[in-house]
Symmetry: C2
Subunit: 211 residues, 2 copies
């Protein structure tokens, strides 16, 4: 079935958002944790993380102006530090609930049943219930004019991940860690390994990676 | 286990790339198809697609300067049109093989066992074997200085997706379409639905979406 751009723009608003948010394929699922100068903690789910580079270790995510946790983003920029915590299969309900529009005096940690974990000297709170936790410092925010969204880029300052999830070549086995994927705005997926392939070369057939 | 930024920077190069590419969570898997003025078709796998916005319908992906398919990107900018084709479970080997550094006279379509499908009036080739196909026009390329990468943004001009994968509210069921996720540089994951949740509200518990 074919849809033209004109038809997509003619979709009812929520239908178009569901369609366009799922058409990009499987997405990451992470909880961003912050704390304000007044020691107010905030937590919000994002599904738009993207690898920017390994050297320096930078991660980006796309933030919408209408995102419920606008105060969360203000805190990232003013405080300079935030955490990304992988969502795993056992915490998808609570993670989804952080997308509710809580008033600014409410901590989504408490409201959604998560425990803030502070690990000095890092100032932003981790999600204790998450098995993979990253601490980042704010690098820059790039405004994308066409859709009035921001690409927020951070530098990885520390990572907490159990050794058993890390393979000999540095690959972190997300399926072992039960990290989930997201489809559209509200669908959560379990992931199961199909294969890891060796570095592809023009003169060789595809082969499984040998560790 | 804790890793500091200093330790990450101290990793051996490939170990760091594996680590940093998997730490962002589950990623999208799409084949980008182009055709040059000389009618040379090109195809390359990317795992960095990100939803930019629904109105206008924009999708981004991150491109590295070292990406094997540099000629592919040049073609996107010069020709103005490209396709994104979802990778599904039955084509992961061939899809991975498109990451090999073929010489510029070779079409990855032919070399990797894919069929270019031209659908007029759109000029770029789709992957016939893909169940979800998107045709885009180039909008802009944003340079991210810190890592010397580009965020390439395109506007969706047309979408081909079987009606049976689209739910009543516009959500495209990626698991039904067998769209895969990617971990790190070379791991492919099957996805299985866990849940879709209703729009979250502060005064209500999380509940499954009712269609």
């Amino acid at each position: 079935m074919k849809f033209t751009q004109a038809q997509i723009l003619d979709f009812e608003s929520l239908y178009r958002r569901n369609f366009m948010n799922s058409i990009t394929g499987v997405k990451s699922a992470g909880l961003i944790g912050t704390v304000s100068t007044k020691q107010q903690t905030n937590l919000a789910i994002f599904n738009s993380f993207v690898h920017i580079g390994a050297t320096p270790p930078h991660i980006g995510f796309v933030m919408r102006p209408t995102t419920v946790d606008r105060h969360n983003i203000d805190t990232i920029q003013s405080q300079g530090f935030y955490t990304i915590n992988h969502v795993h299969t056992a915490i998808i309900e609570q993670a989804h609930q952080t997308s509710a529009k809580y008033d600014s005096a409410t901590s989504e940690f408490e409201a959604c049943g998560f425990t803030p974990a502070f690990k000095t000297p890092f100032t932003a709170p981790y999600v204790k219930e998450a098995t993979i936790q990253l601490g980042l410092s704010f690098v820059e925010s790039i405004h994308i004019k066409s859709n009035d969204v921001h690409l927020v880029i951070g530098e990885v300052k520390e990572v907490y991940v159990e050794e058993k999830y890390i393979q000999a070549d540095g690959f972190i086995d997300l399926a072992q860690a039960a990290t989930v994927g997201i489809g559209g705005l509200d669908a959560y997926y379990k992931i199961t390994p199909l294969a890891r392939f060796a570095y592809a070369r023009p003169d060789q057939p595809v082969k499984p990676l040998e560790n």
